[in-house]
Amino acid sequence: MNEKGWRPKIVAFVCNWCTYAGADLAGTVRLSYSPEVLLIRVPCSGRVTPFMVLKAFERGADAVLISGCHPGDCHYGSGNYLARRRFHLFKQLMEFVGINPNRLWLSWVSASEGGKFANLIDKMVNEIKSLGKFNYSMEETKGEGTPKHS
């Protein structure tokens, strides 16, 4: 169903202190990873709202990553716990409205984990490639909230 030469588009909301710095480290040590990811820097993973994720899907993202500091290591203390709780719930909502929850990833990458960041992106790109392009009108899950065609 995917067009030829299609490459997924992945939006990553990453916290300034851990994952953004981890992504920088991946660059500093010249690792290489799939270019399909675009990073949006936020102060904390707890700053990301479900609306942003929905908007990203609306604007053509095939998957969204939210990544911050490891549990216990949040620069602000507890922001990543808020994100974890929020998006655990939100994934259930995604299923309900008919978006495959596997299109939303949560991961913890610290400032020293450049390698983990690169691997994460590669893995994510591969899995999203097999999920295919996100197209809401012909989705995906058989959630009870799946919209009918109009």
Binding site: D24, I40, R59, G77
Partner: protein, 655 residues
Amino acid sequence: MPGIGVFVCWCGSNIASTVDVERVVEEVSKLRDVSFVTHYKYMCSSPGQNIIKEAIQNSKLEGVVVAACSPRMHELTFRKAAKEAGLNPYLLEMANIREQCSWVHSDKKIATEKAIQLIRMSVAKVTKNLPLEEIKVSVIHRALVIGGGIAGIQSALDLAEAGIETLLLERTPSIGGHMAQLDETFPTLDCSQCILTPKMVSVAQNPHITLHTYSELEKVDGFVGNFRVTIKHKARFVDEKKCTGCGLCQQKCPTQIPAEFDEGIGKRKAIYIPFPQAVPNIPVIDKEHCIWFKKGKCRVCEKVCPAGAINYEQQDEYITEEVGAIIVATGYRLMPKNVYGEYGYGRFKDVINGLEFERMLSASGPTSGKVLRPSDGKEPKVVVFIQCAGSRDPRKGVPYCSRICCMYTAKHSMLLKHKCPGVKAIVFYIDIRAGGKGYEEFVRRAEEEEGATFIRGRVSRIYQKGNKLIVKGVDTLTGSQLEVEADLVVLATAIMPQEDAKELAQKLGISYDEYGFFTEAHPKLRPVETSKAGVFLAGCAQAPKDIPDVVAQASGAASKVLALFSNKELVREPIIAKVDEVNCVGCFACEKSCPAQAITRKEIRDKSGNLIKEVAKVEPGVCQGCGACVVTCRGGCIRLEGFSDEQLFAEVNVL
């Protein structure tokens, strides 16, 4: 907002070799809001910054995007330049096309496309940026130093010398740390205690230093310039004000247990001063081993104390202090005994580690400076030293080099030769790493003048045969198997972070590496700062290092604190939350989500003073700008400056 200027940096070939800069310029100039685009080899250079400044003034730019390296690297540089050109610095954003594009992708076409997309997102964001004013907060000119080893002592003394009131926190009963345990120090063989104890006394006598021994950090709140720390004073059961330090109590105490200070080779009492030169010279009762606390009998110390200083009712005490900066100097521990099973460490009495050997060498140590086998108290004839016992061994979880073992093993072999003439000292090593002033010469002296035998190779196994230890190893230079009958084996065990280093890091909000060493803000250029403003690092808590390096870093950390304290006020980034008071309904969900307790309540009253409503108010000096409240607010009444919904959605909108 029209009038955005975009400045694309080549970063020499760092960006330009994978990103087609000219094509980027061409594409970006087509964007609606962009009125000026240019590129330059090094935007961060002074001519590069001048290009930005001139364009801001000549083209009347209302926003700037610099497409270059990570904003963590140069955002400040460019914001400063914008400010100098008369543009509010917060109307500048960076697009990270180096670390997150040119350095990680190799296909030029794809990297160029991605760079264009990243710039497009930054341009979209900057159109929604608002001019912001920096926040000024006062600085408390007091410092907290955590850890009373040589690192903490040096930092505290430097700060005190500059007149800064300093709290020195130490969790054991005395300051001194590992350095107090050492006998002589490489490469000069000066006596460790002789050079350390005068510093310890200076700490005790300095009017600017408040010493908190037998105390731990309980909690840290606040931010740079304004930390509020809670310190737990563990109950000593000895009144510090009454005690004269006569030591009668520890003479008479009937309980004997292995002494931590002597690494378990010597004994101490249940009420004890860890070593004779301890500062402060005040004993503590070890509740776990004291007969009174265990069985409700004894109270001998109370009976003999001429000052009436013993107080079994003493409780842990919590005190709160306000400080402007924190230096973390919590030191290291050695690899635990159970990790090296094949060497019998922990099973064979005569397999010991470097610190245990150090205590044996010390004239004030448990053996009064004689090298004796722990098993039978006899002087050894053959001593084997094994380097890298744990270090440089990924299988043991320590792939790094502990940095000091080559040197102290050479020193051990030398001191052993001095103490026991005729003894054979055999050192197994992987490589000799003797980088340091006078270090290589020192190792050569051990080898050539003092006659220690250095064998390049690893030891595979140690087992007991009679009262000897059989050391099986290999000499990789001759390619032969070796078997040595040793009387004593000394392991240069790996230096590891303190067991609770991660917990402390989490209390302080600083980061740590995969092993638990605290991470510096930049591995080369900011080696004493942490990612948290106002928290600095000194000593082995950051990475293994020798005494001169520790002292240098400790003084470096102190000078960073002094630089911070040279300001009356600190300028903070205005990346904070603001409440829309008109629409706030006063549900205060934000109050609960705020990790910094920055949200207070504000009453809104009409002209005649009647209460209309209560709304949330963000304290600008306290807010850390995490944005948790923004997401929590149901009405969307809170805006996080710098990362507002408008800005972030603008980025998403142009995907």
